[in-house]
C-alpha cells in the first residue's frame, strides 16, 4: 500500500501545491530581511512595506522560473533592488511630487538602539554615531548605498552582493571601499 502510494505519479496539481508551500516558506523566512533592506534604503516604513509586497508578488509570479542557481534570498534581494530602482526612477519622473514624502528623519531613525547594558551617556554617544552613519549613508550614491547596506546591515558577502546587484565582485569592492571612505569621513567630521 505504501509502496503503491509512493509510486503514484505526481500530478500537476500536487506539484503546484508543493511549489506554493515552498514559496510560503520562502516568504515566511525572508520577508523580514527584505523589508529591513528596503526600510534602510528608503527610511520610509510605508514605502518599504509596499515594495516588500511588490517584491513577493513579483517573486510569486516568477517562482516557476527560479532555478536555484543562487539562493532564494539573493534572488529576492535582486528583485527588491530592481523594484527600488524603478520606484526612484518613477519618482524622479513625477517631479511635482515631493520625494521622500514619508521618510523618517535622521534623528528618529537614530533613536532605535538596543539598550543593552550601557549607561545613558554611552547610549547618547552611540546614537550620535548612528546618526553620523545615517548622514553619511544619505550622501552616498544609489549603488554605493545599496552595496554598503547589503554588506554592513544585511552582512552579505561580496559574492552574494555581486549576484544581487548584478555587478562584478571588483566593482562591488570598489563601491564598498568608496562608501566606507565616506562613512569614515562622516564619522571623522563628528569630532
Amino acid at each position: 500500500m505504501a509502496a503503491g502510494a509512493q509510486a503514484k505519479p505526481m500530478t500537476a496539481e500536487t506539484a503546484e501545491e508543493i511549489a506554493a508551500q515552498d514559496f510560503a516558506r520562502v516568504v515566511e523566512k525572508h520577508r523580514p530581511q527584505i523589508f529591513r533592506f528596503l526600510l534602510s534604503s528608503t527610511r520610509d516604513i510605508d514605502l518599504a512595506e509596499t515594495l516588500t509586497q511588490d517584491c513577493f508578488l513579483k517573486a510569486h509570479r516568477n517562482w516557476g522560473y527560479f532555478r536555484g542557481e543562487s539562493s532564494a534570498m539573493t534572488w529576492l534581494m535582486r528583485i527588491a533592488i530592481n523594484l527600488q530602482k524603478d520606484h526612484w526612477r518613477n519618482r524622479r519622473m513625477q517631479f511635482w511630487r515631493q520625494t521622500r514624502t514619508n521618510s523618517v528623519d535622521l534623528d528618529e531613525a537614530s533613536e532605535w538602539l538596543p539598550s543593552g547594558e550601557r549607561s545613558a551617556e554611552q547610549q547618547l554617544l552611540a546614537r550620535e554615531r548612528v546618526k553620523q552613519v545615517w548622514k553619511a549613508v544619505e550622501k552616498l550614491s544609489e549603488r554605493q548605498r545599496t552595496v554598503f547596506l547589503l554588506r554592513y546591515v544585511e552582512e552579505q558577502d561580496l559574492t552574494e552582493i555581486a549576484v544581487a546587484t548584478g555587478l562584478s565582485e571588483g566593482t562591488v569592492k570598489a563601491h564598498l571601499s568608496r562608501a566606507l571612505g565616506k562613512v569614515r569621513a562622516g564619522l571623522g567630521g563628528e569630532r
Binding site: 531613525a109 545615517w134 552582512e155
Partner: protein, 141 residues
C-alpha cells in the same frame, strides 16, 4: 629618521583608533537598523496609512480634474470669445456697408443737381447775350 618613525607610529595608532571607531559605529548602525526594522515590521497595521494615501490620491485626482476642466473650459471660452468677436466684426462691417450704400444715392443726386446748375448757368446761347445785358442794365437802373 626617528621623527619619521614616531610619525608613522602615531598615524598607525590613529588609523587603528579610527578603524575601531568605524567598526563600533557600523555595529551600532546595524543594531539600530535591525531593531527599528523589527519594531516597524511587528507594528499593528491600521487603516491610517491607507486612508492617508487614499486621501492624497483623492486630492490629487480632484486637483487634476480641476486643472483639466479649467484648461478645457478656458479653451472653449477662448474659442467662443473669438467666434463672437468675429461675428461682431462681420456685423459691424455689414452695418457700415449698409450705411455707405444708403448715403451713396443722396450724394449722387446732389452731384447731379450741381452739375445741371453749372451747366445751365454756363451755357447761355450767344444770340441771347445782348438781351441778357439789357436786362441787367434795366434792373440796375
Amino acid at each position: 629618521m626617528k621623527l619619521n618613525l614616531v610619525n608613522s607610529k602615531r598615524q598607525r595608532t590613529a588609523s587603528t583608533v579610527n578603524d575601531a571607531l568605524l567598526e563600533q559605529a557600523l555595529a551600532e548602525f546595524r543594531q539600530s537598523v535591525h531593531s527599528w526594522s523589527e519594531a516597524a515590521y511587528n507594528r499593528p497595521r491600521g487603516f491610517r496609512v491607507a486612508l492617508r494615501r487614499s486621501w492624497r490620491l483623492a486630492v490629487g485626482w480632484a486637483l487634476g480634474c480641476v486643472l483639466a476642466a479649467g484648461s478645457v473650459g478656458g479653451g472653449i471660452y477662448e474659442h467662443h470669445r473669438r467666434v463672437e468677436a468675429r461675428l461682431a466684426a462681420a456685423a459691424q462691417a455689414a452695418k457700415e456697408k449698409q450705411l455707405q450704400a444708403k448715403e451713396t444715392p443722396k450724394a449722387a443726386d446732389e452731384d447731379l443737381m450741381a452739375a445741371v446748375d453749372s451747366d445751365v448757368s454756363r451755357e447761355v446761347p450767344a444770340a441771347m447775350e445782348p438781351l441778357a445785358q439789357l436786362m441787367d442794365e434795366g434792373e440796375s437802373k
